[in-house]
Symmetry: D2
Subunit: 432 residues, 4 copies
Amino acid sequence: MQRNRFLGDLLSQLFDRQSQMRHKDDTRSIYELCEALMSAEGEVSGFRLASTVLTRYRALTGSEKCAFFEFLNAGMEIDAKHLALLAKRYADTPSTDRYQALSRAAEPRRQEFLRRLNQPAGATAELVAMRVDLLQFLGEHPDLRRTDNDLVHLLRSWFNRGFLVLKQINWDTPARILDKIVAYEAVHQINDWDDLRRRLYPPDRRCFAFFHPSMPDEPLIFVEVALTADTPGSVDALLSEGREPLEADQARVAAFYSISNCQTGLTGISFGNLLISQVVSELALEIPGLERFMTLSPIPGLNRWLKGQCDDDQVGHVAQAILEGVAPDEDICAMAARYLLLAKRDDGKPLDPVARFHLGNGARVHQLHAGADGSANGMAQSSGAMVNYLYDLSHTERNHEKFAMHGTVVATRDVLAQSTAPFVTKPKEQMN
Amino acid sequence: MQRNRFLGDLLSQLFDRQSQMRHKDDTRSIYELCEALMSAEGEVSGFRLASTVLTRYRALTGSEKCAFFEFLNAGMEIDAKHLALLAKRYADTPSTDRYQALSRAAEPRRQEFLRRLNQPAGATAELVAMRVDLLQFLGEHPDLRRTDNDLVHLLRSWFNRGFLVLKQINWDTPARILDKIVAYEAVHQINDWDDLRRRLYPPDRRCFAFFHPSMPDEPLIFVEVALTADTPGSVDALLSEGREPLEADQARVAAFYSISNCQTGLTGISFGNLLISQVVSELALEIPGLERFMTLSPIPGLNRWLKGQCDDDQVGHVAQAILEGVAPDEDICAMAARYLLLAKRDDGKPLDPVARFHLGNGARVHQLHAGADGSANGMAQSSGAMVNYLYDLSHTERNHEKFAMHGTVVATRDVLAQSTAPFVTKPKEQMN
Amino acid sequence: MQRNRFLGDLLSQLFDRQSQMRHKDDTRSIYELCEALMSAEGEVSGFRLASTVLTRYRALTGSEKCAFFEFLNAGMEIDAKHLALLAKRYADTPSTDRYQALSRAAEPRRQEFLRRLNQPAGATAELVAMRVDLLQFLGEHPDLRRTDNDLVHLLRSWFNRGFLVLKQINWDTPARILDKIVAYEAVHQINDWDDLRRRLYPPDRRCFAFFHPSMPDEPLIFVEVALTADTPGSVDALLSEGREPLEADQARVAAFYSISNCQTGLTGISFGNLLISQVVSELALEIPGLERFMTLSPIPGLNRWLKGQCDDDQVGHVAQAILEGVAPDEDICAMAARYLLLAKRDDGKPLDPVARFHLGNGARVHQLHAGADGSANGMAQSSGAMVNYLYDLSHTERNHEKFAMHGTVVATRDVLAQSTAPFVTKPKEQMN
Amino acid sequence: MQRNRFLGDLLSQLFDRQSQMRHKDDTRSIYELCEALMSAEGEVSGFRLASTVLTRYRALTGSEKCAFFEFLNAGMEIDAKHLALLAKRYADTPSTDRYQALSRAAEPRRQEFLRRLNQPAGATAELVAMRVDLLQFLGEHPDLRRTDNDLVHLLRSWFNRGFLVLKQINWDTPARILDKIVAYEAVHQINDWDDLRRRLYPPDRRCFAFFHPSMPDEPLIFVEVALTADTPGSVDALLSEGREPLEADQARVAAFYSISNCQTGLTGISFGNLLISQVVSELALEIPGLERFMTLSPIPGLNRWLKGQCDDDQVGHVAQAILEGVAPDEDICAMAARYLLLAKRDDGKPLDPVARFHLGNGARVHQLHAGADGSANGMAQSSGAMVNYLYDLSHTERNHEKFAMHGTVVATRDVLAQSTAPFVTKPKEQMN
C-alpha cells in the first residue's frame, strides 16, 4: 500500500512531464487555444486544451495576464443588441424555443469558456488564483469588472453551500493544512508551533474549516473556538501560555474568537454566516452542556472613529483620553458602545465591519470589555477593547430582519445603558 | 473508532428527527417557504428553509409536483421586457453598472432559487431526483421546458468535469455501490452476484465510474472493460463462465464492452466521452503493454432499419434473410456495414445512436462481427451482430471534426469494402 | 490518487516477480533455507529467506509438507535433558543468568523459527494456512502434536485480544469481505446476494467481525444480530423474505442468531466469548433502548441424544414420537430442556456443544422453542427446536463460575419446570 | 460523517467514565485483581479485569510499582523443580502428553498474565510503558531481570517484523505524529517547525517510520533520508537553511542521516536493520535513478577514545592536536579511520556503537569527513568528524558474516589507506 503510493507519485510525475511536453508541442498562442477550447475541438479534446491554456496562463507576465483578461472582457462579451432583440421577441410571443435562444444569448461566452477551463485536476484552484490576479487589475482597468462579475457568478455557484465540506482542524490534521491555518489566520496572529498547539490541542479548543472537494488542501474559511465556563472577556487570557484547560463537559460557553477568510480569489463570496451556524450545530450536539454561543471580537474601527470625535464638544475629551491611554475602563466601554450602536454609514449600517458581519448574521451586541486585547494591533485599533456578539439561534432571524430592514442594532440592556451613560472622564476645563 | 461511528449514526438520526420536527413546526405552504428562501430570511436561515422545502417537496403528490414546477416556471420567470430594456441600454452606452444590472436581469429567479435549495447534505441528489420528476411532466406540459432548460444549465455547471471523480469499481468496492452497478447496467444485464464477480474480479477485467463528491453513493456513468489478447469479436465469449482469465500484462487490447449512464435526472449532460478518454489514459499508464483501445458495441438500430429495407430491390432479400435468421455471416456484416456507414438521419448523422456517440467522440468503425451477441436482446435488435469502434487518441480530434462538420463516418478499409461488397444471399427469383 | 493505486499495483507485481526470481536463484533446499534463517544469515537477510521458505512451502506436495513438519518436530525439538539440567541448577541456586539460560532452553527452536518466518507481508496468513495443513496430518502422525502445540502457543499470543479489531460488516463493506462472510457462515447458510442483503442491509440487522491487522481481508469470527421487539422464537421468521423491518430505536432485544468461526487454522483459539461481550457493549451504546441480549441458537445434539433415549422406560416413547415428527410442541420443549440441563459428558459439562459454549460464557438457558428452524439441517439435528441463551452481564461472572466449578446449568424457572414436567405424549401401552 | 466523530468521541468519553466508575467499584487490591485475572473469572471478565489492573497500576507510586514487579517476579515464578522433573520424564520417555505438560511448566505464569493484561484498547502501549518503569528498577533490583527477560520475550514476539507497518512521514502526516518525531529525534535535534519542514517538505527529503497497529500514534523507530547528487560530506550542508532542493529524479544517492529509536520500553528489541533494508527497497522502487544507499553517521565515541590515546608514543600528539582543535583534516580522518577499524572491545567488535550497528547490518566503512558536524554535540563527541557507511545489498550478507564471525570491519581502499597513513601533525619534540 505504502509502496503503491510512492510509485504512483513517481509515475504521476512522469505523466505530468509528458503532458508538459504535449503543452509545448502545441505551438498555438493562448488566444488560439482559447478559441479551440470553445470550438468543436474543445468537445473532444477539452481536457487537454484546458490543461494547456492553464499552463500557458501561469507562465504569463503581469501585463500579459491583464491582456488575457481584456481578451475575455472584450472578445467573449455578450452581444447586447442581439440579446435585446431576443428578449423583445420572447416578451412579445413567449415560446420554449425563444426562451432557449434568449437563455443562450443572455450568457457571455466567457462563462462557458471558464466552465470548459475547469476540467483538469486542480483547475478550480487555478481559477480561484486567476481571480486573485484579476482583482489586482480592477483598479486601473475598471472595465474588467464585467469579467469579474461573471467569474464571481460562476464561483458563487460552484462554492455553493451544498458542495462545501466542514472539517474539524485539530492535532490529527496534516501539517500541510496546518501551515495554511497559520498563514491565513487574520485576527490573532499564530506565532509558532507552540502557539498553534495551544489553539488546537487542549480539550477546550476547537477549530473548524470549510473545504471544497476540488481544493482539498485549501481551507476556505476557518473559525477558532474556545470552550469556557463563562463569557470570555479577554483574548489575552484565552491564549495565555500557562492557563489550565477546561474539560469539554465543564464548558458552558463556546466563544468564537477568530474567523479568517483564506481565499482572496473568493472575495465577495460569503461563507462566514454558514460556517458559524454549522459550527453552532456541531458543538451543540457534541457538548450538550453548552448554554451560549458567542464571539470575542475585535472592534477594528474604534480608534479611527475616536480620532474623528476628538473635536466633539460632548465626547471629544473622552476620545482624547482613550487615545492617550489614560481613560478608565468604564469610559472605554461607554465609547465603544456608542461606536457600535450609533456610528453608522450612509446606508444606515454600522461603521464597524466586524459589527456589520455579526449583526448581519442576526447576532446581538452582548458585552463590552476594556483591556481585552493587549497586542500591538489590539491597542492600535481599539485601545484594547473587545466585544462579545451573542448567537442565540432562536432570535437570529428576527434580529437579522430588523437589522436588514431598519439597520437596528440589537444589544443587551447593559450595553444600551453604557451607550448613554455619563462619562467618568471629565472635560479638561472642568478639571481646572 | 468503530464505536464512534455507531453512536454518531444514532445521534445523527436523532438530529434528523429533530429537524423533521422543525419542518413540521413551520406551518407555511411550500410556496411561502420558497419565497422566504428567496427573501432576507433566506440569507440567515437558508439552510433550514431549503431543508424544509425539500422535505415538503418529497411528500407532494404527482400533480402537486407538477403545480410546483408550474410555479417555478411562471412565478420565477425572467422579466423579458425589463431585460430587453436593460440590454438595449447597455448596448447603447456600455458601463459596468449597466452590465451588472443586465447580468442580474438575464437570469430567471428560479436559478438563484435552485442554488439556494442546494444547501443541506444530500440536496444535490434531491435536485437530480427533482429533474426525474420534471422530465415526466414535459410531454403534457411542454412549457415546463423553460424550467428544465434552467435546471439543466445549473446541473451542467455543477457536474462540470473538474468536479467529477473517477473511481475504479472492483472487488474492494462496497456492496452499496455494487448494487447500483447491477441496477444501472443498461447494455448487458448483470444476472446475479456470480455474474458481477466475473466482470469485476478477474485480473483481465476493469470497471470505472464517475462520481460527484456530493453524491458519493451514486455512480453517474460507468464503463466495463475486458483486457484481451486481440480484437474481441463476441460478448458471449467475453462473459462466458468457464473462460480462462488473462494476466493483465499479457493483454494487448482494452475492450470497452458496456457503457451505462446511471442518472435519468442528468439526461442531456454527457459524460461518456470524458469517461472513455480518462479511462484510456488510466489503462495506458497501468498496463504499458496495451496497444489498442476499442469498444465491443451493440448495433441497436440494425434490425429496425432492416425491416424498412425488406422491399428494396437491391438489398430487400438480404434484409429478409437476416431477419429470418437464414443469412450467412458475410451478409450480416455487409448489411451492418451499410447501416453504420450509409444510413443517416436528416441532419446527416448516422441513424444508429451508439454509432453517433462513438463517432462523435472521434472513434472509427473498426470491425464487424456476426454471431457476437446471442442474448435475446442482441438477437432482437441486431440479429446477433456487434461492432468494434476504435479509439486511437492520435486521430480522435481529426475524426471528430470530419464527423461533426461533414458527417463523415471514418472506417477501416475492410469495413468500407464490406459496405459495398456483393451479397452471398441471392434473390429468390435467381434461386429458381 | 486513483492513478497511484493502479500504477502501484502494477509495480508491486513487478516487484513480486523480481522476488520470485530471487527465490528461484537460491538453489538451496527448503531445509537448508530453514537453517540459514536460524543462522547469522537470518539476522541480515531474514526477510528474504523467510519469503523464500514460504514460497517453497506453498509449492510442496502433501507428503513433502508432512516431511517438513516432521523436520520441525524432530529437528527443531527441545533438548529435554539439557533443560532438566538447567532447571535443576536454577532450582538449586537461582540467579538471573541461570534463569535466562533456562528460559532459552525451555523453548524449542521451532518457536523462534516460526517467529522468523513471520516477516514478509502476508506471512501471518500463511502460518495460519500452514496450520490447516498440519491439522490434517495429526491423525496419522500424532507425534506432530508437539509442533502443533508450539504453533498454537504462538498463534494464541499473536491473536491476543489486544490485537484484534472489531469491525461492523454492513452494506458499505467491500465485496471481497462479503464473499468471505458467505463462505464462512456455518449456522444458517447464506444462499445468495439477496439473502446476504436481508442480513446486512435492513435497519434492524447488524453483523460484527473480529479482524487481525496482519490479515485485513480475513474475518476471524463473526456474529449476526437481529434487533427485535421481543424474544425471538424462530429463525425462519427472522430470515423470512417478506418481513417488515423494525426501526433500530424500536428494538428491545438484540438476538445473536449466528456465530461462525472462520479460520480452521486458528482452531482451539477461542474468540467467541470476547466477540459477544464486545458486541453487547457496542450495541448497548448504539441503541440505548435495548433491554436484553440473547441468542437464538440451534441445539445440534438433540436428535442424536434422543436416538439414544428411545429404549428408556420413562422417556423412550416421547423421544420416539419427536423423531417421528408426531410429538406436540410441549413435549419437544420438555425433552430439549432435559437434554440441555441434564445430559452431561463425563466431565460434568453439557453434551451439547453450543450449550457448553454459551453456558461457559456465563449465559443462562432462557427459553425453548419448537418449530423454530424448519430447514433440512434444523429438522435433522433438533427436530426444529431452538433455544435462547440470555447474556445478562450482571450475572455472567457468577453463572460462569458455577458452571466452571460445578457444571451447574443456570436456567429460567420456566425451563426448569419444563425439564421436569410430565409429557403430553402417552406411552403406547396406555394408548391401547 | 464529521458529526459522527464528534459525537462518538463524546460518548466514548462517557463510556470511559463509566468504566472508571466500575474500576472504583471493585474494591479488591491490585494483587487480588491479578489473581482474579488468572482465574476462571479472568476467562469471562478478562477484558474488564485487565482494564482495572492497568488503571490501578498507573496510579501506583514508584515504590508500589517496584513491589508490583517483585510480586510478578516471585509470585508468578517458574516452578523449576517441577520443570526439572517433567523435563527428565519427557527425556526418558517422550510423549505428546508429556511434551504438553513440559511446555506448560516451562513458561512462568507471568507470561500468561502479561498476555491477559493485553486486552483493552491501548494495553500494548501500557505494557511498553510498564517496561520503562521496570528498566529503572533493574539497577537496584537486579533479580527483576527475570521478569524483564519474560516481558522482553513477549514484546519481541508481538513486535515481530510481520506486524510492523512502514509509513512515510511527510507534510501530510498529522501534527500528533510529527510532535513525536520532534521529541524522539536523537541524532540531530529538530529545533522548531521550520527545521522540521526542512526535513520533510522538500522534494529531496524522505522520512520513514515503523509503527505497530496497536500503537498507531507512536513511531517505534524512524529514519531521515536526504536525496543527494553525490556522497554527502557534511550534515551542516544537508540541513542548511538556504540550500536549493534537488528534484528527486536527479538524485543518485540516498543518504540516511539520522536513525532514532523512539520507545525506551522496547530497548533491546532491534528494528534498525529491518527499517534500513525496507527503506532501501522502497526508495529503489520509487526513484530508479538512485545508485547508492549510504549513511552520514556520527562517530560518537571518537573523542572519548582520543582522550585515552593522548599518552601514546605514536599517536598521542595527534590525538592531542585533534582534541585541541588544531589538527589538519587529514589527521582527523586518519585517526577516525584507526578508531573505526582498529579500536575494538574485548569481544572483538568495534568500540564505536554506531559502527557496531551498521557493520553488524552488513554495511561497510565508505568515507570519512572532517568538519562535517559543527554542532556543539558534534564537536564534543567527534571533533566534527562524520562517516558514511555504505549499504550495498549485494554485499551485506557476506559483510555481515565476516563481521559476525571474525569481527572483520570491511572498508574501502581509501579508508584502509587512511588508517595506516603517516600523520601531518608532527610530535612536539620534532617541532623544536
